[in-house]
């Protein structure tokens, strides 16, 4: 197998090739590192590449396999969003304030991947502290959409989505606070899965909004996403918000998902309202038609409070973020701006270290928690959150899962919404409610617009209904080939080209 074939492998085919002895993890990893070096300056999907440490992990995996080891992800190279702590690797959350910071410990999800034999090949770009929907707020600059480098890959996990789409890694870990896995997955034509809040440990995931953040996988197929999901999911004593509920099912259960007979799938009326791009609507409706053709019964459901989701989210998430980001002040780690007094040091450090979007949200969050405003904003938003949760519980009591679009539009152009935060925030309209209600959600590729940009089908399941959602996604993918399409490689970077010659 040559390196051009190796980079096309997904997790499943890579594992099979290694099991047959046709591929070593070392060669696979080296091929991906080489491709990343050639393409990343165009895509800016990666913030750091592991190089020799990844090759060493790969060799260790190969040696273990030679001894008969068959762990779930043995030798599989995985890209990691740059806010998950991998001991000894940089972890910057896309922020200047953490540039140069090296993680002191493994996040629980990383420890579990390591335990399963994964190879940590690279770190992926993210909006600063995951605050954004385009990966443009990163201190490393914007990531480009592999389908069209003039467009954003979505965000905040745009680096992970672009890396998987562009064949820089067969799979990646990312995080989703208001849509940050599903929206970039839709924009980049990959599969992105946000498990239920409490299903996956947040220990070691640099916090944005603690009651909403959830770590999940991105991959090319639902089965591959499930492979990673089953390794990272489950109660963690280090995260008190994880659920003791046992993790059910496995990847094998998805292979036989070929139809949707006996399932009732709900279509929220509000998700097909004004503001939805006609092409996106048409592609989503076609995908829903496909689900009906696979045997699902479709029902319309009401989510009367979902229209308040964005307002509610942009109070609660910044409030939590304002406290979560208080620790970045230059006293113990990260970058410190010199000053004459303590207060000036705090001010200068944060002024220089944080970008505009982070500052906007910290100020917003500080404001809504201030004495005199707490009841009007934070407290009311918490009550609205409860109503939204109840909305979804009622809708999901009438059906097995909900279907809809992931995003109101396909990927927009880099810079298009930078001056208009509200337009950027409204891009989360179909995704934030899933976080507010603590549910699980999957985005699977479901077609392309006339300009060649991918769109995603959103499958929303009840809390801890991961297997149901994954089965629907797997059945859909078994009947379609959108997820198999691949963007053309951007022309290789001139500098890199020169070096390799």
């Amino acid at each position: 197998m040559d390196s051009r074939e190796m980079v096309e492998l997904d997790v499943e085919t890579g594992l099979e090739a290694m099991a047959r002895g046709e591929l070593t993890s070392e060669a696979w990893t080296a091929a991906l590192l080489e491709r990343s070096a050639a393409l990343n300056s165009r895509l800016n999907a990666l913030t750091w590449q592991a190089g020799e440490t990844a090759l060493a992990e790969a060799r260790a995996a190969d040696a273990a396999r030679a001894e008969g080891d068959e762990r779930a992800l043995l030798g599989v190279p995985v890209a990691i969003k740059d806010l998950l702590n991998v001991k000894g690797q940089p972890c910057t959350a896309g922020s200047a304030i953490l540039k140069g910071y090296t993680a002191a410990y493994d996040a629980t999800v990383i420890a579990r991947l390591r335990e399963a034999g994964a190879v940590f090949v690279s770190r992926t770009n993210t909006d600063e502290f995951a605050m954004g929907g385009s990966t443009e707020t990163s201190t490393y600059g914007p990531t480009r959409n592999p389908w069209n480098p003039d467009c954003v890959p979505g965000g905040s996990s745009g680096g992970s989505a672009a890396a998987v789409a562009a064949r820089l890694a067969p799979a990646a870990l990312a995080s989703d606070t208001g849509g940050s896995i599903r929206q970039p997955a839709a924009f980049c034509g990959v599969t992105g899965f946000k498990p239920t809040y409490g299903r996956v440990s947040r220990y070691g995931c640099t916090a944005f909004a603690s009651s909403l953040d959830q770590v999940g996988p991105m991959a090319r197929t639902v089965e591959d996403a499930a492979r990673l999901y089953h390794v990272i999911a489950g109660a963690d004593p280090a995260d008190s918000t994880t659920s003791p509920q046992p993790v059910d099912g496995d990847v094998a259960a998805l292979r036989d998902a070929h139809d949707l007979k006996g399932l009732r799938l709900g279509l929220p009326k509000a998700y097909f309202a004004e503001g939805l791009d006609p092409e996106v609507e048409q592609l989503t409706r076609a995908a829903i038609g496909q689900c009906r053709a696979l045997g699902a019964e479709l029902v319309e459901v009401d989510l009367p409070y979902s229209k308040y989701g964005i307002a509610c989210y942009y109070i609660l998430a910044p409030a939590e973020a304002s406290a979560n980001l208080a620790r970045y002040e230059g006293v113990r780690y990260g970058n410190r701006a010199e000053a004459d007094t303590l207060l000036e040091m705090y001010e200068n450090t944060r002024e220089q270290g944080f970008g505009a979007e982070v500052k906007r949200r910290v100020i917003l969050g500080t404001y809504v928690l201030s004495s005199g405003f707490y009841d009007a904003y934070y407290s009311r938003a918490q009550r609205v959150r409860t109503l939204i949760r109840t909305d979804f519980e009622q809708a999901l009591s009438q059906c097995d899962a909900l279907l809809g679009p992931v995003t109101p539009t396909p990927a927009f152009r880099v810079g298009e919404r930078s001056a208009d935060p509200l337009a950027m925030y409204l891009g989360d309209i179909f995704t934030v409610n899933v976080n507010l209600a603590g549910l699980c959600g999957l985005s699977v590729p479901c077609g392309f617009t006339s300009s060649g940009l991918p769109t995603g089908l959103h499958i929303i399941g009840p809390a801890f209904g991961e297997m149901q959602v994954l089965k629907i996604g797997a059945a859909y993918q078994h009947a379609t080939d959108w997820h198999l399409r691949r963007p053309a490689d951007p022309p290789p970077d001139a500098d890199v080209d020169a070096k390799t010659k």
Binding site: Y105, D239, S322
Partner: protein
């Protein structure tokens, strides 16, 4: 103070005695560890770290609430208190604001000879900050203390004199040590106090403008600061001035309080529910079980010692001041069956010997059983008092059985009349002048002869019996 009355309220921070910190598994703070060695991602506030509740700290805080009669809500929760300071690794403190672990309760104190009840508003659970040391041109931060479990007990402003404040703290401290909640060592900062004071004209109800003295950690300092602060407030008002609500600092060297910040500069802590921790859910059965684990409190124990053992109030007070001593006394008293004698021995010889050695009762080698056996030997007149004290000293230093020591050292009291007759005759023969004096009516001469008998018997004679025998012989 005749025209004025004072209202004093306390916020007492107590370091709980737990194995690990409040939200991580680092060892709870001990003095003397090298700086920044008892730390982990959680108590350093590294990116991505999350808190995990220490159940033992929760239990200890609830036990404290049960001791003072608090209501224990079945659901309580944690909040974030936001403020920037370098000793706070996350720049927010995890504490309880909206729903604390313990609500209400009270502590009784003795105030100028009468009983006074001080109401407690609530007790909540929180984490300590790191320790910061300011040097000439820099500051050093030791995160070993960061995340140490604290409980904060907030009283109503029910105390009206510095003495009452100290009486409250003393009673609270005694309780906490008794129940093993805290070592409550003031020198090590295990108990730190914010003191709120205000004064108002006698006969009025509305509380005056209060000042808050921050972070006091000695009883003496609190007493002096309060005395100063009350006088300052009174002098200000009597001179026609007005007071502002403010936070003040006690300067111990200068003996004055100084303004730190007034109300308009007060922090807005922007409390909100801690999303990283689920609520604390307790159930009635668990609380009932914990209630059974409560030790008898000092005041109840004192009353029982007076009632059950017939001890004077003074003895009961001394014996119950420390739980280990009270336990020791009870063990010995139940064995010996003569509580007052046991009390005398414990308060006299035992506490003296411990004091001399600088030891705690746990280190004493004399067991309660041995002390009881020793007392029984005295009661039965097997040995006399000087011999008993000698045996005590051996038991204290080496341990062992009193009977065996008495035998080994030949300390059995001579009560044998034949031997006593011999000693008496020898003593009389050796001092004919004293014998004459006695016979001439000088009663004190008898004591000299008894002393001689004791000497001849090498201290083993029963002194009462020696006196009787001598008196009989001298009168014939």
């Amino acid at each position: 103070m005749s025209k004025w009355m004072a209202s004093i309220g306390l916020e007492v921070h107590v370091q709980l005695k737990t194995r690990t910190k409040m939200f991580c598994s680092c060892p709870a703070h001990r003095e003397g560890e090298p700086p920044n060695t008892q730390v982990c991602p959680v108590c350093l506030g590294l990116p991505g770290a999350l808190p995990v509740m220490n159940r033992e700290a929760i239990r200890k805080t609830v036990l404290t609430g049960l001791m003072i009669g608090s209501k224990i809500p079945l659901r309580s929760s944690f909040d974030r208190k936001n403020y920037f300071y370098p000793d706070m690794p996350k720049n927010y403190q995890i504490t309880q604001q909206a729903a604390p672990l313990c609500m209400g309760g009270s502590v009784d104190i003795q105030s100028a000879g009468t009983l006074k009840t001080i109401r407690v508003n609530h007790i909540h659970q929180e984490e300590d900050a790191a320790k910061i040391t300011h040097l000439a041109n820099s500051s050093e931060i030791d995160f070993n203390r960061s995340g140490t479990p604290l409980m904060e007990l907030v009283t109503e402003p029910d105390m009206s004199t510095p003495d009452e404040a100290i009486a409250f703290l003393t009673a609270l401290r005694e309780m906490l040590v008794y129940a093993g909640i805290s070592d409550a060592d003031l020198e090590l900062g295990h108990m730190r106090c914010d003191v709120n004071t205000s004064i108002r004209p006698v006969g009025t109800d509305k509380l005056g403008v209060k000042s808050e003295l921050k972070n006091m950690n000695t009883f003496r300092g609190i007493h002096r600061a309060l005395t100063y602060e009350l006088k300052r407030q009174m002098d200000t008002l009597e001179a026609g001035g007005s007071l502002v609500q403010e936070t003040r600092r006690w300067d111990d060297a200068a003996g004055v309080t100084l303004s730190m910040r007034s109300k308009e500069y007060a922090h807005d802590y922007r409390y909100f529910p801690e999303p990283d921790l689920p609520p604390v859910i307790l159930d009635e059965a668990m609380i009932a079980r914990w209630r059974c684990e409560l030790p008898e409190l000092p005041a109840a124990k004192r009353a029982r010692f007076i009632q059950d053992y017939g001890l004077p109030e003074y003895d009961a007070g001394v014996l119950t001041a420390e739980r280990a001593i009270a336990d020791y006394f009870e063990a010995a008293a139940q064995k010996a069956g003569h509580p007052k004698a046991v009390s005398n021995w414990v308060m006299g010889e035992l506490l003296r010997a411990l004091g001399e050695k600088g030891q705690s009762i746990a280190e004493a080698r004399i067991t309660p059983d041995a002390l009881a056996a020793l007392i029984a030997l005295v009661e039965k007149k097997t040995i006399n008092m000087p011999a008993a004290k000698e045996v005590f000293q051996i038991l204290f230093e080496q341990g062992g059985e009193p009977e065996a020591i008495v035998k080994e050292k030949g300390l059995l009291q001579v009560s044998d009349s034949g031997a006593m007759e011999d000693f008496a005759e020898q003593a009389m023969a050796a001092s004919p002048k004293v014998v004459e004096d006695f016979r001439a009516g000088k009663e004190a001469a008898l004591m000299f002869l008894v002393g001689q008998v004791m000497k001849l018997s090498r201290g083993k004679a029963n002194p009462q019996m020696a006196a009787d025998v001598l008196r009989r012989k001298l009168s014939t």
